[in-house]
């Protein structure tokens, strides 16, 4: 039997399994909220997620994949013995798969990204010694694991605080939403197209930065204009509170008038003073009588209308997350595969190896199949569980997380999308946007950081020795 072909098939199978796993488990993070709020049906959500995950993986997935392939360990150490790298990467993928199965059985919040990085490090240390590890790269990755949830939290905190001040605290939330909607649309499309075009479409075309910036600006503005036109057309029941004399709004206005008159009163001359005093007493009695007879409508539907409007933005931001997720997580599956295939193809480790586009597409397809066969179930479950993430909150959290993930993807840093989203939700919570958050989760996540790396490293080391025992004799026989 052809050994090389055997390893090619093996690594592709294992890589495909990893991609399947990612599609099955993690895509739900992006789409769960939209299904939960009823913005998208399950079928539509799965279709949209499939397209965007694939696009993210195919167009923006290469930088992180290259990090996985060559950034973690010094591949030049394996020049003499490339077969060890093949076994090692296969062992890393298998070890990660095994650890993830174990973790999901116990329900630990572990991340695929952390597991695969730990696994590659594990076999790297065993085979090449401590000096085989690219410590600088590892330090920046480790730092990004801590910083990325924090950054997501900061993004979503400020976005939600801004939304609070401009929309939720506004006297007329629906009108304020209509006014600000195009800006939000612009923001999403601008960031989205900027990340897609800048170094993104290298498989297809490459553009200079100013041109990319201009194009992104153009896309953002045109989408914002489109949304402006649509939202003006939209029929909303903005006058759900009948503007009666005793509404809280008019009482506030009256109070303000009194305040201003008082200022006039203290600064005016004798003649006007008496007149103002008369006005003041009249206004005061009016205000107090209004306050007494103010009837309070059972419930205002202003905020409901706002949420309805934000449903579309939430869908948009969910797509954004799906795209970013595909971009970052496809590397977990195909980074090691790319390394192995490269060795097999060239017979040795090449100095500069790029991830071939077909492999990115392969990873993308794996994710989509995972989503189609198992992931939709998880989306359904998540959707039912996180109905608390209303469209306004969901939009802020998802936008914050997606921006962070894309930023990291651009820098070639493999980070955990789940943890970014957790950070983003906490950010909204800190801005008083959530009803109740379970902070125990944070402890568990930090614990999973500490445990996952040695655990998956040990697994990959174990599997590495098993494969080596089974095959090395075979290899020397050849």
């Amino acid at each position: 039997m052809d050994v090389e072909l055997f390893f090619q098939i093996l690594i592709l199978l294992v890589g495909f399994y990893m991609a399947w796993n990612i599609g099955a488990n993690d895509v739900s993070n992006a789409m769960g909220t939209s299904v939960g709020s009823g913005a998208l049906t399950l079928k539509k959500a799965v279709c949209v997620a499939a397209v965007l995950e694939f696009c993210g993986a195919f167009f923006v997935g290469s930088s992180v994949s290259e990090t996985m392939q060559k950034g973690l360990i010094d591949t030049s150490l394996f020049l003499a013995d490339p077969i060890v790298l093949i076994i090692g990467m296969s062992a890393a993928l298998l070890g990660t798969g095994a650890w993830l199965q174990l973790a999901s059985y116990f329900g630990w919040p572990v991340s695929t990204t952390h597991a695969i990085v730990g696994a590659i490090l594990g076999f790297g240390v065993v085979v090449g010694g401590v000096e085989a590890i690219q410590w600088e790269e590892i330090t920046s990755i480790g730092l990004s694991w801590v910083l990325s949830p924090v950054l997501s939290a900061i993004f979503s905190y400020f976005l939600f605080s801004f939304m609070q001040r401009t929309i939720l605290y506004a006297m007329n939330p629906v009108e304020a939403t209509k006014k600000l909607y195009p800006y939000f649309v612009f923001l999403v499309f601008f960031v989205f197209s900027l990340s897609l075009l800048f170094n993104g479409l290298t498989n297809v075309i490459s553009l200079s930065f100013p041109l990319v910036f201009l194009l992104a600006l153009l896309v953002g503005v045109s989408m914002a204009l489109l949304s402006y036109w649509l939202i003006q057309k939209m029929q909303t029941s903005s006058h759900s509170i009948p503007p009666s004399a005793s509404s809280p709004q008019s009482i506030i206005s009256l109070d303000k008038a009194i305040k201003h008159l008082q200022r006039v009163h203290s600064g005016a001359g004798e003649a006007t003073r008496t007149e103002v005093a008369m006005l003041l007493s009249k206004l005061r009695s009016m205000s107090s009588s209004l306050k007494q007879e103010a009837h309070f409508p059972q419930k205002s539907s202003e905020y409901k209308t706002v949420e309805q409007l934000f449903v579309y933005l939430q869908i948009l931001s969910a797509c954004f997350v799906a795209f970013a997720h595909g971009a970052n997580d496809v590397a977990n599956a195909i980074g090691p595969v790319a390394a192995v295939l490269d060795v097999i193809k060239n017979g040795a480790i090449s100095e500069v190896s790029v991830v071939p586009p077909w492999l990115l597409a392969f990873g993308g397809v794996g994710i989509v199949i995972g989503l189609a066969t198992w992931g939709w179930r998880v989306i359904e479950t998540i959707g039912r569980k996180i109905t608390e993430l209303t469209p306004t909150r969901g939009f802020c959290a998802e936008f914050g997380a997606a921006t962070t993930i894309l930023l990291a993807s651009k820098m070639g840093l493999p980070i955990s999308t789940t943890h970014c989203l957790v950070g983003a939700v906490l950010g909204v919570g800190l801005a008083k946007g959530m009803r109740a958050l379970n902070l125990n989760m944070l402890k568990e996540i930090v614990l999973s950081w500490i445990i996952t790396i040695p655990a998956s490293a040990l697994m990959s080391i174990g599997i590495f020795y098993v494969i080596k025992m089974l095959f090395l004799q075979f290899f020397t026989g050849v």
């Binding site: 488990n25 993690d26 739900s28 993070n29 769960g32 999901s104 329900g107 919040p109 609070q164 939720l168 605290y169 506004a170 006297m171 007329n172 939330p173 809280p248 709004q249 009482i251 506030i252 306050k291 007494q292 103010a294 309070f296 059972q298 419930k299 205002s300 202003e302 905020y303 949420e307 998880v378 479950t381 998540i382 569980k385 996180i386 608390e388 993430l389 209303t390 789940t418 989203l421 957790v422 939700v425 906490l426 919570g429 801005a431 008083k432 946007g433 959530m434 009803r435 109740a436 958050l437 379970n438 902070l439 125990n440 989760m441 402890k443 996540i445």
Partner: protein
């Protein structure tokens, strides 16, 4: 993975409203007692008062349930201690209803035409304050939606102000009734006088506690 789903804790705000419902049941039962106060015999009142005690116990169970499911690791949009205080004041309304019912079941309240209508009036006014405070608790959903700010907060603030006004009116009525009672103390036996005085005071307390509850909500509002 279900990590995201597990991030969301069990919100205590819906249970807070459930607790308010239980408190309302107590108050409604008390109204039932007041309706038959001067018509039925002591046995009937005693029976109703026992039923009210049962309802108060139910409210207590809900209250303890909320407290037990409010771990330190739960992050709320309002301060934990503020939340617990709102719950505690709300529960004291159920206790107050029970207290009054028990007082009424000790011995028949001596009927006195001038005071009778005055007491009924006082009770009604006191309950008006309570109904408004209850309405404020029902607004919590909207407050959560708007992060305790904006037009919704202004609305609730006005409701709180009106609660204070109603409480003031109740207190005026209470003092007037007390004055009336004192002016004709010679017609009472000491025990009857004591009972009347206590009941007038305790009924007024419902308004006092309702205003306190409304003000506790006022504390968590984000006003400009």
């Amino acid at each position: 993975m279900l990590t995201i789903a597990r991030l969301f804790g069990k919100s205590p705000f819906a249970p807070l409203q459930t607790h308010m419902k239980r408190v309302t049941h107590c108050i409604e039962k008390l109204t039932g007692i007041f309706d038959i106060l001067f018509k039925a015999d002591l046995e009937k009142i005693d029976k109703l008062s026992k039923e009210l005690s049962e309802l108060e116990h139910e409210a207590d169970i809900t209250k303890n349930d909320i407290r037990n499911h409010l771990p330190k690791s739960l992050f709320l949009p309002i301060d934990r201690s503020h939340f617990l205080e709102i719950l505690s004041v709300q529960d004291s309304l159920a206790d107050q209803a029970e207290e009054i019912a028990v007082l009424l079941s000790f011995k028949p309240l001596e009927p006195l035409t001038e005071l009778q209508s005055g007491l009924e009036d006082l009770y009604k006014k006191s309950l008006d304050t309570f109904w408004l405070a209850k309405k404020i608790i029902e607004e919590i959903d909207e407050l959560l939606e708007s992060s305790f700010g904006g037009i919704e907060a202004e609305k609730v603030k006005n409701m709180v102000e009106q609660t204070a006004y109603l409480e003031h009116e109740t207190k005026k009525k209470q003092r007037a009734l007390m004055k009336k009672l004192l002016s004709q103390n010679h017609t009472f036996s000491p025990s009857s006088f004591h009972l009347w005085a206590r009941i007038i005071e305790e009924v007024g307390s419902i308004a006092e506690l309702s205003e306190k509850l409304a003000n506790r909500i006022r504390m968590v509002l984000e006003l400009k």
